[in-house]
């Protein structure tokens, strides 16, 4: 490929690529993101390649391996163009039929299209599926249209147009002004205005300056950065190059956590291709602007996602945060002025340049503009990535898009903001989601994880989970975070184990205040948030654990017990055979009994007991009924067969 040396060259190339691609020709787009890979999409792709070859169609039908379109729950996902027929949960066995029926015969296979579980209504096109219909997918919508390993796919849909536009039409100051007018705020969690950050870095004294992409997405339950970096790396690179031009940087870094191997691979390839095409490197598009990008892999440390810690990690040091009174915009990477933004923030930049700041600012709420991608996961029917305008209510996201809670369970809370965020109860479901509203509720936007919890989730356990997580990940540099977390963990552990004491709640609250005021970085300062919000909204659950020694959600091992209801037990032997510690006593035609002294409360018997019997009961806060006397355990003959499982011991 010859280098592109001018904006006219770029447009010419774009036309050439488009001319080669007839939008009316069939194309099979298959999600090859990490989610669908986990669901076995590689076998589906191989089946398509083979099937098309067998039918002699390999030259007429394109196969496009794309990034993640978001609906992971229903993967592997296949979209057939030009009709935009969306097939879900596609297995290799389905492929020959798809080729003969849909690709050749233009007929739809009913069993593979989306069917509403409640109404039974079917949706053939991607855009008709309720999960997608209520979204506004400015960023994620392009994933299905391109193969991230092919820069020409990105160029074909208008890629690098924004870079060309600023290099030849905008002064750096005007680029910053655009981003400020658009009121783009940082998508990594803090929500700091991006334009202001760029401006301070541009105005800082020092040379060289650096720009950095933060793809160290450590928040558990969030994976939108992975989907963007994996699925459309060029959009991030283009945004980064625009930022570099605005700030006056000639070197950039993309920091990707090593837990995302596909994102690493696709980004390295994208950088290489952009260099080959003259869209990175020396004299970009003949403008005289030079910009080089290097990828750095993380080595597994949550705190490295903090901006100053991440800069330490790029320098090859331990990823610990630096004191906050020195701004990284003045003294960041190698003590030079540095600007760091999140993946999603960078990916929004080309959109703002192409469509204008006013267009961007017309989407969203007063204080939060544009769209935000959330990862909607946990106890919700349609799990996946959801992109909506800022200000969409939690209820719309969880019920209209997410399809509600599975198994007729009751919604309890939604956790947002990762370990620094909080749990929001049902009465606030109509809150419009933006940076400021979530903060008011004691939670935060964070990077966009949205974990739905139902009645089976214990809120004290959730608080303990996050504290445990942060205890592992605290770098240990400052005392309030290191010691504070350790003691929070100790107190929460004793509460969930049934050893909670009077005064524990007050102690938790007191420590939270100290940690917030005195920790070195945001990790420690926000570490108590999950404890504080669960205390604020679910104090009764804490009290039940401490005072009544009862876990209302029946989730905490230390406070539950299992027993077998003798009137429901059919002696099917399933629990008896699977108990890892042989705590179930019984036998053929003998009602089973749990030896409470041996039981480790792992719950295996509870899950193994066939639902039609429902004999294994889980209780909390009440005494375990005494076992049925041995002489009454024999079942009358004829009842055992119903068991289904069974067999000889």
């Amino acid at each position: 490929m010859a280098r592109i040396n001018s904006p006219a060259d770029l447009e010419r190339l774009r036309e050439e690529i488009r001319a080669k691609r007839d939008p009316k020709e069939p194309c099979i787009a298959i999600c090859a993101g990490t989610g669908c890979i986990a669901l076995g999409v590689h076998k589906v792709i191989a089946a398509f390649r083979e099937g098309l070859k067998e039918q002699g169609l390999e030259d007429d039908v394109d196969i496009r391996e794309t990034g993640c379109p978001g609906f992971c729950e229903q993967g592997p996902i296949v979209v057939i163009y030009p009709e935009e027929i969306c097939y879900l949960r596609v297995q290799p066995e389905d492929v020959p039929e798809i080729i003969s029926e849909t690709v050749k015969g233009k007929r739809i296979i009913d069993r593979l299209v989306y069917k509403d579980p409640k109404t039974g209504e079917i949706a053939v096109k991607e855009s008709e599926i309720p999960f997608y219909k209520y979204q506004k997918r400015l960023l994620l919508g392009t994933n299905i249209l391109l193969d991230p390993r092919n820069i020409e796919d990105y160029i074909a849909i208008g890629g690098y147009q924004a870079l060309s536009k600023v290099l030849f039409g905008f002064t750096p100051e005007r680029v910053i002004e655009e981003v400020k007018t658009a009121n783009l705020r940082g998508r990594g969690g803090g929500g700091f205005p991006t334009g202001r950050k760029w401006e301070s870095t541009r105005n800082a004294v020092g040379d060289p300056k650096y720009v950095i992409v933060n793809c160290d997405e450590g928040d558990p339950g969030a994976f939108m950065d992975r989907a963007l970096m994996e699925g459309n790396p060029h959009s991030v690179i283009e945004g980064l190059a625009i930022g570099a031009y605005a700030i006056g940087a000639h070197e950039g870094f993309i920091y990707v956590r090593q837990e995302y191997p596909l994102a690493v691979k696709n980004t390295i390839l994208a950088i290489k291709q952009a260099e080959d095409y003259g869209l990175l490197g020396e004299n970009i598009l003949g403008s005289g602007f030079n910009f080089r990008v290097t990828l750095h892999k993380g080595a597994g440390a949550f705190v490295s996602g903090e901006s100053s810690a991440l800069m330490n990690a790029i320098e090859g040091k331990v990823g610990e945060p630096r004191p906050k009174y020195v701004h990284t915009s003045d003294s960041g990477l190698w003590d030079k002025p540095s600007d760091l933004n999140n993946v999603e923030t960078w990916a929004n930049v080309p959109l703002i340049i192409n469509n204008g700041a006013d267009w961007f600012a017309s989407i969203g709420t007063e204080g939060s503009k544009g769209t935000k991608i959330f990862s909607l996961v946990g106890k919700v029917n349609n799990t996946g990535l959801v992109e909506v305008p800022m200000g969409t209510t939690l209820r719309d996201i969880i019920y209209k898009i997410g399809g509600g809670i599975p198994g007729d369970k009751k919604f309890k809370a939604v956790q947002t903001g990762g370990p620094s965020g909080g749990c929001i109860p049902e009465r606030y479901l109509d809150t419009p989601v933006d940076f400021d509203e979530l903060t008011k509720l004691g939670s935060m936007m964070g990077s966009g994880g949205m974990i739905v919890m139902d009645e089976d989730t214990c809120m004290v356990d959730v608080a303990r989970y996050f504290v445990d997580f942060l205890c592992d990940e605290s770098c240990g540099k400052c005392v309030p975070c290191r010691e504070g977390l350790k003691h929070l963990r100790e107190i929460l552990n004793r509460i969930v184990e049934g050893e909670g004491q009077e005064g524990d709640i007050e102690l938790l609250e007191e420590m939270a205040v100290v940690m917030k005021a005195s920790s070195l970085c945001a990790l420690g300062a926000t570490a108590a948030n999950p404890v504080l919000t669960t205390l604020r909204y679910f104090r009764d659950e804490y009290e039940a654990h401490i005072k009544d020694k009862r876990c209302p959600a029946l989730a905490c091992k230390g406070l539950v017990a299992y027993y077998i209801d003798p009137s429901a037990c059919k002696a099917c032997l399933r629990c008896l055979k699977t108990c890892p510690v042989d705590a179930v006593i019984g036998g053929k035609k003998l009602i089973h009994v749990i030896d409470q002294a041996k039981c480790t409360k792992c719950g295996t018997c509870f899950y193994m007991c066939p639902p039609k019997f429902g004999a294994v009961k889980k209780i909390s806060g009440e005494p375990v009924p005494p076992p049925i006397p041995e002489e009454e355990r024999a079942l009358p003959s004829g009842t055992r067969k119903e068991g289904g499982g069974g067999g000889e011991q």
Partner: protein, 151 residues
Amino acid sequence: MVSEKRIDEIIDKYEGEEGVLIQLLLDIQNEFKLVPKEAIARISTRLQIPISHIYRIVSFYNVLSLEPTGRHVIQVCLGTACHVRGGPRILDEVENLLKIKAGTTTEDLKFTVKRVNCIGCCALGPVMLVDEDYHGKLSPTDVKGILARYD
């Protein structure tokens, strides 16, 4: 056996660049399934970095290890989404079957078990990663069959 030649080859790739230590150690870890003492000494001599500094890095980051890891690395995800969907029960099952605790390796060096705080497959929780294979939507009863596929 740790090949000194191989260590040198890996260092050669990075010599002269600033801030390469972590990337270099990741390559070493990848090659030897641990960061061998010999490698630490060699890096220290060739790149003029104090041994104490290299140890600090290796002990700070989760991926780097001073102990040998097994032929297969099992990572059980305990991110929030996996946690609420039963991730801890998957880990219990793995630990029961292999009779080791998370963070350790079986005596025959076949499996290393780790708990990982989110691998970004949240929609498919609970998830477990064996080497590079993702296994999603797991129930504890699936674990035995999955482990049997690796030798």
